[in-house]
Amino acid sequence: MRWIWIDKFTEFTSRTSATTVKNVTLAEEQLHDLYPDFPIYPHSLIVEGMAQTAGILVGEAGGFAEKVILAKIGRATFHQLVRPGDTLTFSAKIEQFSQQGASASGTVTTNGKLVAEIELMFSHIDQNMAGMEFPEHNFVFTEQFTELLKTYRVQGEIAL
């Protein structure tokens, strides 16, 4: 299994905002782990989907040169459950961006209904955590990620 919790970008405005979608299917193992016979999509993965949407937005703002790490969930408010067959839409925007990191906020909806409101903080870890050293290679935006990105660019659906 690959740790990818968004299916595609539908909008991308550099340094500003991004929108992604995620189709939730009954075949996914994680839907069956919380409640027997009542499959729901876990809230933690809704947060992860937003983190990936906003994290790539933040990464692109820095030319994918920084190691962008989700450092803090400032707020996550959930309004309804997500069930198999739902399509989640993640809308993220950068609130603030600096050399050290960024803050982002966003909403998650399905069928036009609000599912969650989320605020996140990202750290450019090489610029923070003074005194600690991290591997030189970018283990966040990996080769696998950049190859995936190329296919989006080739398709030309969004300006990533």
């Binding site: 450092a71 400032g74 603030q96 600096s98 050290q100 750290s123 003074a130």
Partner: protein
């Protein structure tokens, strides 16, 4: 018109409540961000962003809390701030009252208080 200290304090209090998830009555002038309010490293960036938004100011990296001083072996040895480190802290953080800290300068006990944040913001909005 310049903001009064009370206005700055009230806004700083709001920033710290939101950033640290603490109750308003915990944010007292002498409360230390790390030791009393539980601030972790990423919280300082969060506070920095929120202060910039709330006051329309720019907080450059390492200006409000010069973390690089705390990790410099010339300034901190064996968990204690050296005389050179103390001189550097006084120069870099004139808005922090270091009088008591200087008597037993254990780096973990740096008195970066709510009052210090208010003092810092006051220098920026003046």
């Amino acid at each position: 018109m310049a903001m009064s200290r009370e206005e700055i304090y009230s806004k700083v209090q709001g920033v710290l409540v939101d950033a640290l998830g603490v109750d308003e009555d915990q944010v007292k002038p002498d409360a230390r961000l790390k030791q009393d309010l539980g601030a972790e490293s990423i919280d300082y960036l969060d506070i920095q962003f929120r202060l910039e938004k709330a006051f329309g100011i720019k907080v450059p990296k390492g200006e409000m809390l010069p973390e690089n001083v705390m990790t410099d072996p010339n300034f901190v040895q064996g968990g204690r701030v050296t005389p050179a480190g103390m001189a550097e802290l006084k120069k870099r953080m004139p808005y922090v009252d270091l009088t008591e800290f200087e008597k037993d300068p254990q780096v973990e006990q740096l008195p970066f208080t709510v009052d210090a944040v208010v003092n810092y913001v006051q220098t920026k909005v003046a």
